[in-house]
Symmetry: C2
């Protein structure tokens, strides 16, 4: 992997381009309208979390996967569909390592795993606020004339599942999932169309205790994989801020969601670029400028000065910050009024995890969405959650060099029969070792001993058990320790004990 190329792409694609270039320490994004112009050409990551990242593999492979389907097909196109990934065993071990960490944290926090179909009704994502997540839907009409979509995010499926139980689920719910989520966008090349996304959600809790618990889980994950508050920060804001400003300006509540989405877009494009959207929304440019002015606040005290003592937004954010101290995660958290997030349904606290060096896109994002169920025709139920994609975090972990090695297959022992007559005993030996708890690779073909040792080394095995004629006559096998190189004979009847002793 060419690190310089990666870095350049990260720069170009980063929301934090300005922050990365400017000498401002601490990684805070410089939020000003002049910076928008610099980022005008950057497509938004959108959604609950910035899903797609530049995919070096795709870039390397150029346009091969774009070639039209060959009818004669002398040779199949061996690439996975555009924007998708294969997981070879080594890739899979990395993915499993990541998922295991996500699951361990979720379990530690008492969350239960759930899942929903990757294919959902398109109706689940029909929202009119112009969010990227809904405009870049991977949707199609199936053979039964149903409008369906590969899910772009998990929250609507979760809401559907909660609603389907018609109040039969005892609240609060603490649920998590690791869905694969999809997007379809035509314009740019080399960006992934799928990613896996850790979702953690709390339903039925109205106070910021829910958000703080979610945040603590996220921080625990960061700590567990070797990251510190020097590497990662979590910006927090509340959409109540925008709500209060709109309220003070007499803007009706129905414009809240679409305004939030629009303000989020202003991070990436200059205000002129969405002048049309503004007019359609009926928002005076001065309203937007007032909003942007408020959103430059970088401290709760400053915000209090702007919104006043009685601001509900300030109160809730202050309470949240106190809770973060109870969890001892305050070093990770910073208030940043410019964080809005691009999803229409957020109603309260919103947050975004980012790398402090400002080189990568958002690592994770989330917030409170108390009215989502209501928009589906269900009973209003308080809810908060986050989505945490598998792409950016891996980039960051590689960057910080804290990933373990995924080269070893995890096989303990390779079992080899010196000749065909000894194959049945070798299989018996393998069965004993497996029953004793070992991961055992049996050499299924007639091979030379030299090949076997090379093979065992390549897959990272610890031992090689050779079933040879002489030893077998004595009821023994030869065991070679592949780390030290020592070799000894062990009675076949004692193999279980040998496994116990070695562990």
């Amino acid at each position: 992997m060419n690190r310089i190329v990666v870095f350049l792409f990260a720069m170009i694609s980063s929301r934090r381009l300005v922050a990365a270039l400017a000498p401002t320490a601490g990684g805070n994004r410089v939020f000003s309208r002049t910076s928008f112009a610099l980022q005008a050409s950057k497509p938004s990551g959108g959604g609950r979390v910035s899903g797609a990242v530049q995919d070096q593999n795709l870039l390397d492979k150029t346009t091969k996967q774009d070639s039209p389907q060959q009818k004669g097909r002398p040779q199949l196109d061996t690439n996975p569909p555009k924007g998708t990934r294969d997981f070879y065993p080594q890739d899979m071990r990395l993915r499993t390592w990541l998922f295991d960490h996500w699951r361990a944290v979720a379990k530690s926090f008492g969350f239960s795993e759930y899942d929903a179909p990757v294919l959902e009704s398109e109706a689940l994502y029909v929202r009119k606020a112009g969010e990227e997540v809904t405009t870049q839907l991977y949707n199609f009409v199936d053979k039964g004339d149903r409008a369906v979509a590969l899910r772009p995010e998990m929250t609507p499926s979760l809401a559907r599942m909660v609603m389907a139980q018609k109040g039969g689920l005892p609240m609060p719910l603490k649920w998590y999932s690791i869905p694969q989520c999809w997007r379809y966008e035509r314009m740019t090349r080399g960006r992934r169309r799928e990613h896996f996304q850790w979702n953690m959600d709390v339903w039925g809790v109205a106070g910021p205790e829910a958000e703080a618990e979610l945040m603590a889980a996220m921080v625990t994950f960061f700590e567990n994989v070797g990251l510190t508050a020097e590497d990662v920060g979590i910006k927090v804001n509340s959409r109540l801020v925008i709500g209060e400003v709109l309220d003070s300006l007499g803007i009706p509540e129905e414009k809240f969601a679409v305004t939030c989405v629009l303000v989020d877009k202003l991070e990436k494009v200059p205000i002129e670029a969405i002048q049309g959207d503004l007019e359609e929304l009926g928002l005076d440019r001065s309203v937007v400028e007032k909003l942007l002015d408020v959103l430059t606040n970088k401290s709760l005290d400053a915000l209090k000065g702007t919104l006043g003592e009685d601001s509900q937004a300030v109160k809730e954010l202050s309470q949240f910050m106190t809770l973060c101290e109870a969890y001892n995660i305050q070093n990770w958290i910073l208030f940043d009024a410019s964080v809005v997030r691009g999803l229409a349904y957020y109603t309260g606290i919103v947050f975004e995890a980012f790398d402090r060096r400002g080189e990568l896109r958002a690592i994770a994002g989330g917030g409170r969405y108390d009215k989502l169920l209501e928009t589906f025709g269900g009973v209003q139920t308080p809810a908060a959650g986050f989505g945490f994609g598998d792409a950016v975090i891996v980039e960051l972990l590689k960057e910080r060099d804290v990933l373990p090695s995924f080269e070893s297959t995890g096989v303990d022992t390779v079992v080899f029969a010196m000749n065909q007559d000894l194959y049945a005993p070798a299989v018996g030996v393998a069965s004993v070792l497996r029953k004793a708890g070992q991961s055992v690779d049996v050499v299924l073909e007639g091979k030379k001993l030299k090949w076997v040792f090379k093979h065992a080394d390549r897959i990272g095995a610890k031992y090689c058990v050779v079933v040879g004629a002489d030893e077998y006559l004595n009821g023994e096998v030869a065991i070679k320790d592949l780390s030290g190189g020592a070799q000894k004979s062990v009675k076949i009847d004692d193999l279980s004990n040998w496994v116990s002793d070695e562990q």
Copy 2:
């Protein structure tokens, strides 16, 4: 669940209808043409494994999910798309339990996990043998005019991945995966359109050592989940049998695959129903009858009598049976010449796991497919594998009553603050318990103690830690053992030790 209804559906949908009704012991399917008529209306399970089963939930819910998308949408349709499932936490715990067992066996046998996109190019499944797996493709054209499909099976993706490495993967490969696979069929109702399928494959091994190793892994799984050779059998055959018959009749080799698929269909429909297919294939009816005659052989000795001493099929099957004895799985295995399996690409040994009572569809199926890579334009590489769906096995495990309970959430301890002032200390206590390895559920809202105990009982927690004012002044918390009911005070500083002691 209405067991009688389930049973009746299982009967109606079973390949083994006749076997289930007839007094033949041992569960061997009665293979005769008179039985086809009884099963004529039954859609084939098809594919590598009989994927879809009757879905009682769908049947219960009648046609709600068929209703056209409501434009005004006062309330969202809360059903998942037709033929798909939601996994609520309890369903998910069952699924995780199953997947964990699959993964544990695969690891024990030294197999490495891989994955590929659920969405693949349709070209991957273009085969002209009339298999159900390809005629019931969940395919569509995406926005980029690409013909794509939700994968119906994993083997073509695996072949694509092997081929993409252009020989760069050291053989043999022992890989496994647990993909979700999809099908689309219009005709019948109440059958699932997706299932998860454990795939185990060995590439690069030409001999039946590969199939025997795969079979041993499958049997190990059955044993690990509490099934015996009384519950499950594995029928084994080789397509070399059909090959040798066709050869002896002078039928050219290019008709081999399509003949196999056709013979597989003859299990379910009378020969008259596919007379057209036969004619198109140019196969004389007498050829088919000769084939069917050979396929009634139920012992290797009888087959040897039919095919002769030099039959390669008989030799390979005999060798395979000997290998099964080495693994000590011979009680699970039976030869049955009628097993053909419905996939075009199988070339040698084929097998099918079935429940001995003959009530359910095939549990798993697989075989050797030495020429698949060649049909993709790659280098011919020996390969064998199996697919093992998540539906039938769960039905069987429920039937045999060997499933554990999935009611408990796995939470160890519920932590509760008696009042808002004690919430921060409660969070601190939770953090200590989590760091010590417990799964901890913090009560995030002001609740009554009575609710807390009820909640802790409902989620199956073992302990309840109550942070009360008096105890906290002493640096203590109250711990109630929810199984025994005993309560004691523990110093907060000693909580880590308490966790160690309780484990």
